[in-house]
């Protein structure tokens, strides 16, 4: 029998408890051993559950119980999760977590502590909820050098953008609907400003390229400035707007990392990822593009990924998984100036001047959608170094200019 503790009995934590307790037989069959939930840590009272006797409000009781070999941290937030996880690892317990904020902020340090103490620190559920992403990346791509990772990492923003695209709903209405449906939180900042996706980019980049990437190193832009006008112009260029998290290895050993709204060609498989679904596309030097897709959130999906990690720990109590990365450095994440195609929106008072300046600056290889009625022009540029295109955008005879990246 392997004893585990669950720290946190919120949405994910209760899901983990339910799977482990209600499906105990099925899991025992797979693990060839019984997994017993010995403690559930939560400050709140949960009376009337069939497993109410397992609750404790005292972290020390878990920490000091040598019978507990695996701890699931599903509290969220950096504190006190960081302190608890660190103490568990130091005392020789394996830890699994769904806490992307914790892993993005402290991953390298916690992985090192796990290594030093010969235990596992796993966090499959921190990226893509129930979609297996990190494990296949780490293991199956062992024979690959990874070139880039990109994807749709936040279901809330994808749901909102999808509503704008398909139902012509404006941003505020779509956000309200997402909140109503439970896809967006009351304070939606972390989702709509891109912070949540940013943390996932940190984890993906750290794992893919072996050095920790911190949230403040990632260029992060949310979707609050996307208008129905942008959606319509994107459609005119046969594109949809998605919030894309992306990281790429450069030739000099440095990397790029960003989260930003992006025009994705309708011919690209990622354009078909709708609703609350997430996707991660990994480009390896041997495999080419490999994509993982599924529901990126939700109680059952995320809990099942946590449980899979618990099972993996239970089966490898004396064997370390090769999930590891080093600490990062200040100058590791940079901006590259590679050739890109940009979407540029510009509005001005004088429509003819606007259009003439656009065509003079971006030439005949760019595509244009001119909207005389609104004094606006949308440009899909030719592929050129980003700095060159941004410089040209500055010279547009316009009052408002908005630039987005593209994915073709």
């Amino acid at each position: 029998m392997i004893n585990v503790a669950i720290m946190g009995h919120g949405v994910v934590g209760s899901g983990v408890a339910e799977i482990l307790i209600y499906h105990a037989d099925r899991i025992a069959e797979k693990v060839k051993d019984k997994i017993n939930v010995k403690y559930i840590l939560d400050l709140r009272d949960f009376d009337g559950l069939s497993y109410s006797d397992k609750f404790t409000k005292d972290f020390e009781s878990i920490l000091n119980d040598d019978e507990v070999k695996v701890v699931a941290e599903v509290m969220g937030g950096v504190n006190p999760a960081y302190d608890f996880v660190k103490k568990c690892l130091l005392s020789g317990k394996s830890v699994v977590t769904s806490n992307k904020e914790l892993v993005a902020a402290k991953g390298a340090e916690l992985l090192k502590i796990a290594q030093d103490n010969n235990v596992n620190f796993l966090f499959e559920a921190s990226v893509g909820g129930g979609i297996p992403v990190l494990r296949p990346m780490a293991q199956c791509l062992a024979a690959n050098e990874i070139n880039s990772v990109k994807g749709i990492l936040n279901g809330t923003t994808n749901y909102i953008l999808n509503k704008m695209i398909v139902d012509n709903m404006d941003f505020d209405t779509a956000l309200s609907l997402a909140q109503e449906k439970g896809y967006a939180e009351k304070d939606p900042t972390a989702d709509i400003e891109g912070h949540d996706a940013c943390r996932k980019v940190c984890i993906l980049a750290s794992l893919a390229f072996g050095k920790h990437v911190y949230p403040e190193q990632v260029y992060t832009e949310g979707i609050t400035n996307i208008t129905l006008g942008d959606v319509e112009y994107a459609d005119g260029f046969n594109c949809v707007i998605k919030l894309i998290g992306s990281t790429e290895r450069l030739a000099d050993g440095k990397i790029t990392a960003s989260v930003r709204p992006t025009l994705v060609s309708r011919d690209h498989i990622i354009s078909g990822v709708n609703g609350v679904f997430n996707t991660v596309m990994v480009n390896g030097d041997q495999t080419g593009d490999v994509m993982f897709y599924g529901k990126g959130a939700g109680k059952e999906a995320t809990a099942s990924a946590v449980v899979a990690d618990i099972i993996d720990c239970a089966k490898h109590l004396n064997a370390r998984k090769y999930l590891f990365w080093e600490d990062g450095s200040d100058d590791y994440v940079v901006c590259s100036d590679k050739a890109v195609k940009l979407y540029i929106y510009a509005a001005g008072d004088d429509f003819n001047t606007l259009c003439t300046s656009a065509e003079a600056l971006f030439g005949e290889n760019a595509s244009y959608i001119k909207n005389k009625f609104k004094n606006e022009i949308a440009i899909l540029t030719d592929k050129k170094p980003e700095s060159e295109l941004l410089k040209a955008a500055e010279q547009l005879k316009a009052n408002t200019v908005k630039v987005m990246h593209t994915l073709f």
Copy 2:
């Protein structure tokens, strides 16, 4: 140092040798040990390679060398691969293979031998080439009961169908082009008749549901009867035609398994899987739909999956992976009669009689495309028990009737 042998130096085998030999340092860093290719078994001569000294024509030299801990079988075909693999496992060597024919025919038996001898038998590359599918299915979905697995499992047929759909190319021309480009073999039977996809369905179904499914138990239909007319009618129903492999768990513990051309709604993410790409969609009771996507074939992609399995074996010489299924049984794979939407094509001499009989049989909830010029009608039926729809199709006043399943 871990010694390995590669059996077969064809497309995949040479790729495996190249990765292991030319990227030895990178791999050593990941494994924390050196992987040494000690033998390459092939009856042909390969002079002038930097590793020509490793070749042997004698299987016994590999079998009898106790230093060889891991053997990669990349010869293809059931014989003599089966005999060689069995002997290696029995002598305590872990085996990895890309050979879907072997796994589909002998998987349960070889897994049992591996288990009895406490070694690993891994075959990630046998399904989806370089796409990690089997490992994430086995491990990350450990907490799930799998309901169904479906996907595009053959790149050759997907390439041909794609050419028919996008370029309006007829089947024969598309096949010739695929052969020219090296996507189809000179004898394309195994691909276009669905046999290759069938073997992959066997492996996926066996792993997903725990009992071996044999090729002859899978209803298998290829793409040779698909016409440009079908492609056009499918388009009229907002669908594309894909060769879909599928397996589903039924309530009574039995399963269904099939390979057949299927109308896939353009709103379904699978419809966007084009060219030689493959995809596998797994529906778990906790995760919902999870999809894996990538290039399903190709030297580098497949070789990299084989190498990943070798690395996994090398890192777990004394630990068994929990990849296992039992032997199958005759009455395990059945036909279900659940409610489906079918595509029915019918042609007759008398257009009016044809249309009248169709509408009388399938009612106003079906969709119809009537082609008076060709005396044809295409029907997208309402969702009803399959047997009922097939019975109705038989009663059509038509000379020719063709039925396909759909995926919405």
